[in-house]
Amino acid sequence: MSFQTPWMAVMFALPAIVILFYFFRKKYEQHDVSSTLLWQEHVREVQASPYLKHLQHNALLYLQLLALLLAVFAMMQPVTTTIGQKGEQAMWIVDTSATMLADELFEQHRTHMLEQLAELEQPLTLITSGKQPTVILQQETNKARIQETIEALQVTYEHEYIVDTFAFANTFITPQTVVHVYSEAVDPLTLPTTEQEVEWHVINRTKEVTNAGIEQFAFVTEQQQTDFLLQLYSTEEQALTYVIRDEQGETLYRETVTVKANDTETITAKIDGAFTLLQASIEPVDTYVVDDTYWAYQQQATGAFHVDATMHTLLHKAVTSLQIPAVTTQPADLQRAQNAVITNATALLPTHRVFLIGRDDATLQAVSGAVTTTNDRLFTFSHLEDVYVQAVYPAFEGYDTIASVGDQPFIQRSPDGDIVVLTTITETDWALQPSFPLFLWTVLDEMATTNQLFGMFTPNEQRVMATPQGDIFSQAGEYVMTVPAGNQLRAPMQPGAYTFNDGEQSKAMFVLVEAQERNIEHREHQIVGQVTATTERLGQSWLTWLIFLMLIVLVIEWEVQRRRGLSIT
């Protein structure tokens, strides 16, 4: 036998109290008087009221009846039921885009969530927005954990892609779900329609926020002059000062313009000098910082590659299939080529950017062995282990060998950045392997990009890049993250300027918010849909209190018995 509510043993205090009563019972002070004749008459008269007398007389009966009635009532196990919260599941979709920072909307939402948490009774699913929405909590009931999670939520600057987020969230929705959407300006028409009973509470930004920022910035460099275009916008009429800086941070241009309310002002101007990278910013910075800075770069147009006409047709085909712009050029015209060249003319090496395949000034030497590669970034995607090479040309002095056949150098990299493959297509079966086009692509891709820029990204953007392993540092020099070799690069969250350092060189990279995040929208709150189910809360059971009352009545009964004896009449 075991007890369901063993803590009720506390009630043993009641008989203990009764025993205590016995010892501390009302003791009358004894006094002797000459005669109680008159006292008896007095006492009789004091208790004369008939109803009281009747009650007193039959006190025991009434008390016992009362105790029995309470017992019967208690047997029915009365319970107060209260209506609990609506819905069987709660889902909160949190917009973590950059615009949530304006006017501290994100913090307001966080407070709102914590308040809601206090009354929450259903399991909670928490989803954050983005191109790839994330489920942070699923059917979570542990309130402490939910609180921790809510307090740890952060703005990820990525555009919310709210429609995608809704589609994602839709998969988690079960009937009788109450969904809260904490966003900026969600149009109720974008909410997914389901056949299930779902209630959507859209919590938007209701207040309009004043903001000024850069909408567009671009420039073109020709010869030694740069033309730039800058678009400023502002929600209210004000004078804005903008500054153009170069990559080192030196101010190149500054001007103050007046922007009308809810209008964009387009500015075009010229700056002397040729630049690849320019930064435009507004001073002073307003509360929504994210849209106050803009970087623009101009890639040195590499144009099409020049492919030597004497090269093997297989090479031509490979280049074409990679869809890299390439032009077949006669060897005589290669001298004049501006862009990168694919050739075997060794003479061009010092003057041009060359991808040398074979040598025209040396003879092949037979070689045997397996191909081994170093950890160069060119081999990120292409693995050369199964390549068979018959003969190689002699290597260049002073060049880095990045692949070898046996003990002979196979592929080399020059200090200028040229790539040399010391064999011809015919001496190897490499062209038949998938690593060949991949290698080609990697080389050409490398040759195409400028040295300075690593890339322009949107926050949290995932991009496939042939990157070697490297570290990303913030503008202040703080370490941000490490990028493993060859993987998808996930750009940092926070917009700003970064440097990517792979051990040999550092390149600039920039994270800019998407264009949609440069607009701060507002809209009224919305409630769409209706949920009828409510969690039923079983309130207080009266049972224990009734039994407690009963015991008290019994104690009173005891007291009465003690005073007047056991008879009921």
Partner: protein, 284 residues
């Protein structure tokens, strides 16, 4: 010793006032209206129709042509008896002392004037009877020894202690018994004397109880318990009841032509005799 010497000395100057005819066989020193054999002339009174014609003084008529009655001093003794309530209710110390003091005082008054005095109480018969002032001292000493230890209520047993043939009968009691019981008792008293006087003594506390709170009161006599939760209001209502009881008792006495006087123990014996009794014209 119940009374001090100076009180006894003062008591000499007090005499009883009683309308009843003397019963004593022996001479006393009291005014008598009865035509007697004494030669002490007292005073003249005009004749009113209905008086005894034989008492007219003809000498005075001869001189004044008006009818006067001569009154003489008749020296016949008073016989005073005191019945003392010795029931257990009298046991309260102050009350018992006062009661005994009263007995001695009455005795001293009587004996100082050469009258006959006796007292009795239930179970003892008449332990003292004397005449003459020299017996005052013995009375004082004897009464001091009396103990209130009668288990029976006074009204049911006191008739056994009643004497016969007395001038004045004093009954000293606290009166705390049912009126009906008193009524029954009063049936018996008239054979003892014509002048019967009830002296009811009570304490202040009995009249206005000072106790408050939960008390269990035990009757000393009957050993019965009464449990009361006393409040001020209840005490007041009890006092009213007490006074009503007294009222009923005096009404009963009036009906039976018994004199009654209520004395408070706290007032003391001197005030009781020299003030209260004087005011009530019991003594002068």
């Amino acid at each position: 010793m119940m009374l001090t010497q100076d009180i006894i000395a003062r008591l000499q100057h007090v005499r009883f006032v009683t309308p009843s005819k003397k019963r004593g066989q022996h001479k006393g020193s009291h005014v008598s209206l009865q035509y007697g054999s004494s030669l002490d002339f007292s005073d003249f009174r005009t004749y009113t129709p209905g008086d005894d014609v034989r008492q007219i003084d003809w000498h005075v008529y001869g001189r004044t042509q008006k009818h006067y009655i001569k009154r003489f001093l008749d020296e016949q003794e008073l016989r005073i008896h005191v019945v003392l309530d010795t029931s257990l209710s009298m046991r309260d110390e102050a009350k018992w002392l006062f009661a005994r003091q009263l007995v001695v005082a009455l005795g001293c008054i009587t004996l100082s004037h050469d009258d006959h005095f006796s007292y009795s109480y239930v179970g003892q018969g008449i332990p003292f009877r004397a005449k003459g002032s020299r017996f005052r001292h013995r009375l004082n000493e004897q009464v001091a020894q009396v103990v209130a230890q009668s288990n029976e209520p006074f009204t049911t047993t006191a008739h056994k202690a009643l004497p016969k043939d007395r001038t004045v009968l004093f009954i000293i009691t606290d009166g705390l018994e049912a009126i009906s019981q008193w009524e029954q008792f009063f049936q018996h008293v008239h054979r003892s004397a014509k002048d019967i006087r009830l002296l009811v003594i009570g304490t202040d506390d009995e009249q206005q109880p000072k106790l408050r709170g939960d008390v269990a009161l035990r009757d000393i006599e009957t050993n019965e318990h009464v449990q009361v939760s006393l409040t001020d209001e209840q005490a007041r209502s009890y006092t009213a009841r007490y006074n009503a009881h007294r009222e009923q008792l005096s009404e009963l006495c009036r009906r039976h032509q018994i004199g009654s006087l209520f004395l408070t123990v706290e007032q003391g014996i001197t005030q009781a005799i020299f003030q209260t009794m004087r005011q009530a014209r019991w003594v002068m």
